[in-house]
């Protein structure tokens, strides 16, 4: 069973790689008509990926939230699902896959470098709050990754519109700039909501496990930093008049901090979360 999940994982990674290549090809060569192949590959990849997670779940008898291999796989899965749902609702943003799918591919690649040995769920992690905590972290990452994809598209479209020659048909098919600006805002808003639930669930769980809901542990502190970063983003947009390109760059740069907070903190700092974040 464990081998099957690995084969499915590799298969899904291959489809995500194909999807990433087609998305980038479509963006670089302005081939809008080929996007359906990229989308198709992403969907097929997701099916294999879902099967891989299900197989692993059955084999380990716990959800995909114990080893880094499982955790990263789940982050990638949620990112693809949110991206597919987003582009189902706002079809015009489908080319944002040029950023989302390579990011997913990187996460899958990183996940494959960790041990695939099955680990029993330790007593300290046997809590329903764990499920809420990590699921909403995944959802937040997925939403903010899609926001970043739209932000990158915004910058490309805006740059294209500044040129003297007429706008290429490829960029014309993207949503208007003001619509993309609001889509970024909407996905950041969803991200901050999911981050809030993640932090809230984590606080309640911490109180049950350690007797305090907040202890300025490096992981906790970095989650607050990320929450505040995106909070500033919303303030800048709503109150200070930042919009468009400036906010798009802000969202792109914030992703690095988000990635560090989710995946890097465990390697840089020692703290209560460290064992879990690096297993």
């Amino acid at each position: 069973m464990a081998q099957i999940d690995w084969v499915l994982y590799l298969t899904s990674t291959t489809f995500y790689a194909i999807s990433s290549i087609i998305y980038i090809y479509c963006l670089v060569f302005k081939k809008e008509e080929k996007l359906k192949f990229a989308l198709g590959s992403a969907i097929i990849g997701l099916l294999f990926h879902s099967a891989s997670i299900a197989m692993r779940w059955i084999a380990t008898e716990h959800g995909p939230y114990i080893t880094m291999y499982e955790v990263l796989s789940k982050y990638a899965w949620f990112s693809v699902v949110i991206f597919l749902l987003a582009q189902y609702k706002y079809e015009k943003i489908k080319v944002a896959g040029f950023l989302v799918m390579p990011a997913v591919l990187l996460i899958m690649g990183a996940g494959s470098t960790y041990s695939r040995d099955i680990q029993l769920i330790p007593a300290s992690l046997r809590s329903y709050w764990l499920i809420a905590h990590v699921t909403f972290a995944n959802l937040a990452f997925g939403s903010l990754l899609v926001a970043t994809g739209i932000a990158a598209l915004y910058i490309l479209k805006e740059r294209n519109s500044m040129k003297k020659e007429p706008e290429s048909p490829f960029y014309k098919k993207l949503p208007e700039l003001k619509v993309m600006d609001e889509l970024m805002y909407q996905f950041v808003a969803a991200g901050i909501l999911f981050l809030s639930i993640m932090i809230g669930a984590g606080a309640i769980w911490a109180n049950q496990t350690w007797g305090r809901y907040w202890g300025w542990d490096p992981t906790e502190t970095w989650s607050l930093i990320v929450w505040s970063m995106y909070g500033i983003c919303l303030h800048l947009r709503m109150n200070v008049g930042w919009s468009g390109k400036r906010i798009a760059w802000y969202i792109i740069l914030s992703l690095f901090i988000l990635v560090f907070a989710l995946f890097g903190v465990g390697y840089v700092y020692s703290g209560l979360h460290t064992n879990y974040l690096t297993s």
Binding site: L120, P122, A123, S124, R126, S127, E176, K178, V179, D181, E182, L183, Y185, Q186, A189, A190, I192, L193, S196, I197, G200, A203, I204, W205, N207, Q208, T209, W210, G211, R212, Y213, W214, G215, W216, D217, P218, T221, W222, L224, I225, S228, M229, G231, I232, H235, L236, N239, V240, Y269, S270, G271
Partner: protein, 481 residues
């Protein structure tokens, strides 16, 4: 005076100030993760860092950055942010309530035409661009076609003569101000909780009972308003399990069965393990470190007890070997011991459940630094030390229980729930309004002026608005079917 107050109010109401203060909190938080924090790490690790970086340690200690999150600088920024949030919330809330009070606002074509989203549908007897068939009773029929379109999109509708006002998610305006109010609420709950908070570690040996009093805690931290408000009930560690399986057979790690008694009456009993705490009378009991405690008794030659106690030994390297250093009563002797559970070698086949483990104790004793004994003891073994006898008579588990009393927690939880609710309302229950005026300038002609506005995501609302207009046009042209 009013001018001063206005200046203060304008300063604290500034949204730009909010951005600056949140940014400062971020910077300070990053600094706090870079500089070792006394409250986060073990004292020996902190001291090692201090020895290796004496200059930096001196500077950071002086400015309070080794306890950054309770330093004057951090607390001042947090206080400013609190004030800023307070003023902004007051401002936002009064604005939102004002908006809510403005109930039904019917608008005329001049206003409607000026909106970002507006359209005109012309109805007349004839055909042509932008024209629709004229129903017989223009106003009545037009209204009856418009209302279902808006109702289908969950708008609440008010009508007055030839005007329609439709709105949905009216209370969405409260989302953002209430979200900020919740942040203030959580901060106050944290302050309230921390000032009256008590936390401490109580060490109990299996079978031991201690009362909930200040002196019985190994470590205790009391907030300024706790006021030694200890309850004095008795806590007994009835049984300790190194590997506990709950009633469903799920392994739960180490666990302790605690019994709370008051005036000799049992009030509560529960097994405390990771993610399964026990609460009683506002106190929370959590499992903490545990170890083994061998009972060593020193006797006089006539058999009378000179000194004796359970010595709590700790497994510091998670090797299953428990180590302790101790003084042997008033004898002037001191020593070190290591104890662990071991199984006897056997020639037969046995299952895991058959394995009987016995404790084995490695003991070293010193008299003023001079080693006087170095050997191994099994349970009930006795050795002669000078003219006295030292026996190893029993062994039990001990466990520390982390006991917390924090009345603020319930409010913090409520605040977290409210924040999530308010964020959802703020971003996903966007207030939307549609105004319609039907103008009959001639008997056989009518113009429908439609305008709409959303409080947020206005560009995205354009699509919804154009769908509304399209549906109204279709209904007027084709009728209900």
């Amino acid at each position: 005076m009013d001018l001063v107050w206005e200046k203060i109010s304008n300063f604290f109401k500034s949204r730009k100030l909010a951005v600056v203060l949140i940014f400062l909190i971020i910077i300070l938080s990053i600094v706090g993760t870079q500089i070792p924090q006394k409250s986060q790490i073990k004292s020996d690790v902190y001291n090692a860092w201090k020895n290796n970086h004496p200059q930096e340690a001196d500077i950071f200690e002086t400015i309070g950055f080794t306890n950054l999150f309770s330093s004057v600088i951090f607390l001042s920024v947090a206080l400013l942010l609190f004030m800023n949030t307070l003023f902004c919330t007051q401002n936002m809330l009064s604005g939102a309530l004002k908006k809510l009070r403005k109930n039904q606002q019917f608008r005329k074509k001049a206003y409607i035409s000026g909106l970002e989203n507006s359209a005109v549908i012309k109805i007349e007897n004839g055909t042509g661009n932008n024209t629709e068939k004229k129903p017989e009773n223009v106003n009545g029929n037009v209204v009856s076609e418009i209302v279902p379109v808006l109702k289908a999109r969950e708008y609440k509708i008010s009508q007055q003569e030839n005007c329609i006002f439709a709105q949905k998610n009216r209370f969405g305006v409260l989302g953002t101000p209430l979200f900020h109010l919740c942040i203030l609420f959580i901060i106050l709950a944290v302050v309230y909780g921390n000032t009256g908070r008590m936390e401490g570690d109580m060490r109990l040996i299996e079978g031991q009972t201690l009362s909930e009093d200040h002196g019985n805690y190994m470590f205790i931290n009391e907030g300024p308003f706790f006021n030694e408000n200890h309850q004095g009930f008795d806590i007994t560690l009835e049984k300790f399990y190194a590997n506990y399986n709950d009633e469903t057979g799920t392994p739960r790690g180490n666990a302790g069965r605690l019994v709370i008694t008051e005036n000799g009456q049992e009030k509560k009993t529960d097994v405390v393990y990771s993610n399964h705490l026990m609460t009683y009378n506002g106190y929370t009991f959590l499992g903490n470190v545990f170890g083994m405690a061998p009972l060593l008794i020193l006797r006089n030659p006539d058999g009378s007890v000179l000194s004796g106690s359970f010595i709590t030994a700790t497994d510091q390297d998670e090797s299953g070997r428990y180590v302790a250093y101790f003084k042997l009563g008033e004898t002037g002797l001191d020593g070190g011991l290591m104890v662990y559970m071991t199984a006897n070698l056997t020639s037969g086949k046995i299952t895991e459940s058959d394995i009987e483990q016995e404790p084995i104790l490695f003991l070293k004793l010193f008299d003023k630094g001079r080693e006087i004994y170095n050997g191994t003891l099994k349970l009930n073994d006795t050795i002669k030390i000078n003219d006295k006898y030292l026996g190893f008579y029993d062994i039990k588990y001990w466990s520390n229980f982390y006991i917390v009393k924090d009345y603020g927690i319930i409010f913090v939880y409520a605040g977290i729930g409210m924040i999530i609710l308010c964020l959802t309302i703020s971003f996903f229950m966007v207030p939307k309004k549609v105004w319609v005026e039907i103008v009959n300038e001639k008997d056989n002609e009518a113009e429908i002026y439609i305008g709409g506005r959303a409080d947020k995501f206005r560009a995205l609302y354009e699509e919804e608005f154009s769908d509304i207009v399209k549906d109204i046009k279709e209904r007027i042209t084709n009728g209900t079917n």
